[in-house]
Amino acid sequence: MQNGARIEYDYSVAKAFTFATILFGIIGMTIGVILAFQLAFPSLNNLAGEYGTFSRLRPLHTNGVAFGFTLSGIFATWYYVGQRVLKVSLKESPFLMTIAKLHFVLYFVTILLAVVTLFMGITTSKEYAELEWPLDILVVLWWVLWGISIFGLIGIRRERTLYISVWYYIAAFIAIAMLYLFNNMEVPTYFVSGGIGSWIHSVSMYSGTNDALVQWWYGHNAVAFVFTVPIIAMIYYFLPKESGQNVYSYKLSILAFWGLLFVYLWAGGHHLIYSTVPDWMQTMGSVMSVVLILPSWGSAINMLLTMKGEWQQLQTNTLIKFMILASTFYMLSTIEGPIQSIKSVNAIAHFTDWIPGHVHDGVLGWVVFMVMAALYHMAPRMYGREIYSKSLMDTQFWLQTTGIVLYFTSMWIAGITQGMMWRAYDEYGSLVYSFIDTVTVLHPYYTIRAVGGLLYLIGFFMFSYNMYKTATSGRILDKEPVNASPVAA
């Protein structure tokens, strides 16, 4: 290629992952809404026999959203951003192209198998690591393929310095590889026992307290390196691109990056406060969770300040609205988490609905909003068409924002109510409430949460429809837009 010539980026794999993001988003979030309604109206549990109960659907929901929707989004953006910031096209390397396609196919098959096995009740029960050992091996395979794709593209790059987003993709790749391998160490019982029982069954390598320790070291950091780090990679690329502004501070981005990597893994211990793991680990988890505010807010503030002097774009550009809302929710979530990690607060919050409330303001507000914004930004450039409808985008934005607010406010109230009722004593020193009192009192909040979730889901369907129409019948662009994604009226 000659200097100055335009690079023809290849978006075929990015498009495939975009499709997967939308598909698994619909599946994962629909199941989530069903679960929310089941908690408010328990008779919905037994509509589909053993396969429709809360207990079977819950791991499907978490896996569907975390590893179906979010990972697809991460991969879709990687296959878009990676080429662009490294200034190479996948087309230039048939090898990397093959790897990328294989990555998609293997990934897609694994998620489908995950759906089938989880429906059947084949699970290891460890949260966010429910898949049994044969699927774990498949996961490792396509994770390695992704690694080859990352470092392969880096290897043939034309841009000497790695852009901030690439740092975050690398960190996500390395950390998840380490965490996933250690946490999923299992011994398949079929082989050790000489061929007795189910071949898919396994037993954890660790027992009891140690198992819990490894699980939450993993579990919390799955949040870190799936729901945080790669999403920061996205905002560092897409916000400056969309707004036409430079990242506010390069120094702050360095500080926030290395700070986040160093502190995040300590925080897993906050899931185990008042459990049977050693006290010093609980304290460490608690303290480090508070310290974690610094690097988290570092990135978020860096993003908000990127808009300095350009805030009018919030009114003119819907995508900026999506991204700024995402950054704001990131700040909310990363202050809420540390508060819950303080021992005295944790004593009330742990085991209650405040925890799913916290997870969801993070995931719905930060992760899903950012992924949707990224895909909206990519669509006109991948398909060469304007985004189909601006009014649909706006309606979606407000519908989903309302949904999130209903979700987290109801869960805050529910969680704190529950936590206070569990520990309430009367003047004779006996517990005031039986457990069931603390369940029935939550019915209104569960209903509000379900309605909030439903609004959010409707918004996601609008997003899916808008993306579909953009790809198939949006107005054709004659040249690639520089910033602000073009949106039809």
């Binding site: 328990p42 549990n45 037994n46 026999g49 053993e50 809360f54 207990s55 079977r56 819950r58 791991p59 009740g121 290891t124 029960s125 470092f151 880096i154 000497r160 310095t161 690398i170 390395i174 950390a175 380490m178 250690f182 011994v187 050790v192 026992s193 007795i196 029982g197 189910s198 069954h201 037993v203 954890s204 660790y206 027992s207 009891g208 307290t209 198992d211 819990a212 320790l213 490894v214 699980q215 070291w217 360095i254 290395w258 990597l261 160093f262 995040y264 893994l265 300590w266 008042y274 459990s275 049977t276 793991v277 050693p278 680990m281 004593a347 085991f351 569990w422 457990f435 069931i436 369940v439």
Partner: protein
């Protein structure tokens, strides 16, 4: 320094790995080095209990019920003695849970009976009005997987030295007998028979009499063992 790193992907990746792994090394390793010892009286699960534990896992009971009593008066009053690390040494995987949509179950064997569990699994509202737990009628017809449970017991015995077929208290008696496949399955069926005798569902009783163990029987064996 950072400019230098940002142009060298290999060293960049190495640095990232060191930064990320550091906390894990300091946090996780010390506890592994100090092997957890069982609390006095803690025994490995029998094959039937393991089969029940796998039913518990299959239907994700742990998504709504914890098995971890925290050291607060409100919890010890409600559920019993707070949990100790040594009580979990035979738990692979651990089942502490992270959310209490329903109550804690770590000592449920102390205050609920076979009969109660049977009614509860078939129709939760019949014993706890206002319950939002789903009914699990399929547990009364699905057959528990004793083979996998035996394979699991044999695996933990071989690989992790879980003390099956051993005298744990020094009283000359074997505490939890595993034995070979045939005797282990036979023992599990005897235990299942003892539980089925306290149940009233005729189909379950018939199945057990015919040498099959429905999931509910195994699950109750497991829940009764939680003390």
């Amino acid at each position: 320094m950072f400019h230098w790193l940002e142009q060298r992907p290999f060293f960049f990746a190495v640095f990232v790995f060191i930064f990320v792994a550091f906390a894990g090394i300091i946090e996780v390793i010390p506890d592994f080095a100090k092997q957890s010892r069982p609390t006095v009286g803690t025994k490995p699960y029998t094959v039937l209990e393991l089969a029940g534990r796998n039913v518990y896992i299959k239907d994700s009971c742990n998504a709504c019920h914890s098995q971890l009593i925290r050291p607060f008066k409100s919890e010890t009053d409600r559920y019993g003695m707070y949990s100790l690390s040594g009580e979990y040494v035979y738990d692979r995987p651990f089942l502490w849970g992270s959310k209490r949509t329903g109550p804690d179950l770590h000592r449920v064997g102390n205050y609920r009976s076979t009969d109660w569990h049977e009614n509860h699994m078939l129709d939760p509202k019949s014993v706890v009005p206002g319950s939002i737990m789903p009914a699990y009628p399929h547990m009364f017809t699905n057959i528990a997987d004793l083979d996998s449970a035996y394979a699991e017991a044999l695996t933990v015995k071989k690989v992790f030295n879980t003390p099956y077929d051993e005298d744990l208290n020094g009283d000359g008696k074997i505490d939890v007998k595993l034995g070979d496949y045939d005797s282990a399955i036979a023992t599990a069926k005897e235990q299942a028979q003892a539980i089925a005798n306290n149940m009233k569902n005729q189909k379950v009783k018939d199945a057990v009499a015919n040498g099959q163990v429905p999931e509910i029987v195994a699950l109750i064996a497991y829940l009764n063992s939680l003390k």
